[in-house]
């Protein structure tokens, strides 16, 4: 019998959790098919199918789904509502499976398991895997064990993507004697690490001779950052964005911070304001870079160059 082919669109939460999904599905004996990296045609296709003024990452997701839908048996679009006890995902992420269903006809089967830690607590993964087991007709305990084990598989960082990822600032190698300009990049993984959407920002900054830093904050960091602002941010990714901004502003070795966000992003419109006014107490160079489908490579590059020129003048 031929294996079931399961499609995972390379957009949105792919950049945060895909490794664990891919690993689990292939261990269950399914053929995992992922869409290629975003390119202009995928985005164009997404925009064609999107309704209203959905944001750029969701449009991208629709493009990837359009590409996959005819070549797979099942499409995996999990509904992540909350990944922690006291927070939520963005509403568009919560409604994502329904948006995909609404925007296309002739879809293959969609697996949309619910991941809701706020409601299910420690049983979240168990509840998450139930619909998966049913959809691929396998024994639920096996599926559960696999997903549970693979939960914390870190997202692989291919070197050629030219992204710097580090848990701690000290690991980044900033402390070299020949001091380079260090630029902290904050933003959502699905925007930053999609090379087409972010216009290969990391590589460009590197080519200009500076050191781009992205970091994934840990739990204690988040608690610290949330204590600085008046009310903790209740969006999962918003919290990460605010925390890494806080860490960058605190650290003397970081010369400037760029906040990359999608132009009509709801949570980022507020967290951006928090970052600019509340966290940037020491008036470090800070730039908000908003990206939409009309953003051009050159436009982004000019702004980055100008930003770096400014830092050079400030530090000189």
């Amino acid at each position: 019998m031929k294996n079931l082919r399961i499609g995972i669109p390379r957009a949105l939460l792919y950049y945060s959790y895909a490794e664990s999904w891919k690993l689990s599905f292939s261990e269950l004996g399914l053929d995992v098919i992922t869409s290629p990296e975003t390119h202009a045609n995928i985005l164009r296709e997404g925009i064609k199918h999107a309704v209203g003024d959905l944001c750029l990452p969701v449009k991208t997701f629709l493009g990837h789904a359009a590409l996959l839908k005819d070549s797979v048996d099942l499409l995996f679009i999990p509904r992540y509502v909350s990944v922690e006890k006291e927070s939520f995902m963005c509403p568009k992420m919560i409604g994502l499976p329904d948006v995909v269903r609404a925007c296309f006809t002739n879809l293959p089967g969609i697996i949309d398991p619910l991941f809701h830690v706020k409601q299910f607590g420690d049983n979240a993964v168990r509840e998450f895997t139930k619909p998966i087991a049913k959809a691929i007709s396998q024994h639920h305990p096996d599926v559960y064990t696999l997903f549970k084990r693979n939960m914390n598989t870190a997202v692989e960082i291919p070197a050629e993507q030219n992204r710097v990822s580090a848990r701690l600032l000290s690991e980044v190698g900033i402390l070299s004697s020949h001091r380079k300009m260090n630029i902290g990049i904050v933003g959502r993984p699905y925007l930053l690490f999609d090379r087409h959407l972010s216009k290969n920002l990391f590589k460009y900054i590197k080519d200009l001779g500076a050191n781009p830093i992205y970091l994934k904050p840990e739990e204690p960091d988040m608690r610290e950052a949330m204590a600085v602002i008046p009310k903790w941010v209740y969006w999962d990714m918003g919290k990460e964005v605010v925390t890494s901004a806080h860490l960058f502003f605190k650290d003397d070795r970081v010369d400037g911070v760029i906040n990359v966000c999608s132009s009509t992003c709801g949570p980022d419109s507020f967290t951006g304001d928090l970052i600019r006014k509340r966290l940037n107490q020491r008036n470090k160079p800070y730039m908000a870079l908003s990206i939409d489908e009309h953003a051009s490579d050159v436009g982004i590059q000019t702004r980055i160059e100008a930003f770096m020129d400014m830092i050079a003048r400030v530090t000189a």
Partner: protein, 363 residues
């Protein structure tokens, strides 16, 4: 302490007089005008939604008029509303305003609301707290009832403008009814006033269901008085979201009224399977309901960049295609122009009329 709460439809009418009687120095912001909006837009984050901007403008104008305390509801939902208060406080402080700010962090819980009322007023007794809070809720329900009657009479009125006068009067009367007894006596009078309007009983108006983000639906300033405009086009509005329903779902003060959120969730099954915050599930569920009930079309209104309603708008677009049901989504922000809205409404109403007469089978 002069307390101010940003406007949301007729809510300020419901609480101002009652709270004043219990020793709260209420100072509601002046009615929103274009100046309010401009103030709000000037200081808000670029992509904040329209309610945020209007609320901020409200606060600034109220503070300019001498208020020195702000009460802003909060919350922890996926929608941005829960974070409004924090960002607004930050902006106001930056502009040099001096004030105290309190937020209710869990507006869904009765005890939190009662505590908030007790914090700001001279009410110390818990029982009185409940009694005052429920009076406010009943007054809100009465105002909604008067608005619903307005929707029925407006398209049928013989003399243009009669109904608007009656609504204005009704709101004043409900405002004066500051106790349960007075309120129960006022309602029949309000109904009598509406009965007295000369209407064309034989006229069968086109019906449009108005759905969407609650602030934009119930605040005439935010939606450029869209319900009045529809009434003037001789359309009967069936509003799908009411503030009193929203409150009733949480505080059950009208025990015989169905829980609208649960009802909508049931109706939305298959299209939107999980409430993604805001009024998304109501929008989707009620679109299905209106279609079943034979309402001629649905007008879905939302603020620009509203996250939950964007999900809903994608989904109801699909319902519209599947069931051949006319749906019009409109986005409101500070740049929306009146002429644009009127043109689109007229075209939509034309379409519904022709569809009803059978001159077009599809749309």
């Amino acid at each position: 302490m002069k307390l101010t709460v940003p406007h949301m439809g007729l809510l300020s009418v419901a609480y101002t007089r009652v709270l004043r009687q219990h020793g709260v120095d209420m100072q509601p912001p002046p009615k929103a005008t274009i100046k309010t909006l401009n103030l709000g837009v000037k200081y808000s984050p670029e992509f904040a939604c329209l309610p945020f901007k209007i609320n901020l403008g409200n606060m600034m104008e109220a503070l300019d008029n001498g208020a020195d305390a702000i009460l802003m509801p909060g919350g922890y939902g996926p929608c941005r509303f829960g974070y409004y208060g924090i960002i607004q406080e930050q902006i106001l402080r930056e502009q040099g305003y001096k004030f105290t700010m309190s937020t209710t962090d869990n507006p869904d819980r009765l005890s939190d609301m009662i505590d908030t009322i007790r914090d700001i007023s001279q009410i110390r007794n818990r029982y009185d707290g409940y009694s005052v809070f429920f009076l406010i809720l009943m007054r809100m329900a009465a105002l909604d009832k008067a608005t619903a009657l307005y929707h029925y009479h407006k398209p049928r009125e013989v003399n243009r403008g009669d109904t608007d006068q009656v609504l204005k009067q009704a709101i004043e009367m409900i405002d004066l009814a500051d106790s349960y007894t007075k309120l129960f006596r006022t309602m029949p009078e309000v109904k009598k006033m509406y009965k007295a309007i000369r209407i064309d009983k034989s006229f069968k108006p086109v019906t449009i269901g108005v759905l969407g983000e609650i602030f934009v639906v119930i605040e005439p300033f935010a939606n450029l008085e869209i319900e009045k405009k529809l009434g003037e086009l001789r359309v009967e509005v069936r509003r799908g979201v009411w503030l009193s329903d929203w409150l009733n779902d949480r505080f059950r003060f009208r025990p015989f009224r169905r829980n609208q959120t649960k009802y909508a969730t049931k109706l939305a099954k298959g299209y939107l399977n999980f409430a993604s915050g805001g009024e998304s599930i109501e929008t989707v569920g009620k679109t299905v309901l209106f279609q079943k009930k034979g309402v001629d079309g649905v007008l879905h209104i939302m603020p620009f960049t509203c996250m939950p309603e964007l999900v809903a708008s994608a989904v109801i677009n699909r319902i519209s295609k599947d069931r051949e049901y006319p749906v019009l989504s409109m986005t409101f922000d500070e740049h929306v122009s009146e002429a644009n809205i009127i043109t689109r409404l007229e075209a939509f109403v034309d379409l519904l009329e022709r569809r009803r007469n059978g001159s077009i089978s599809r749309y």
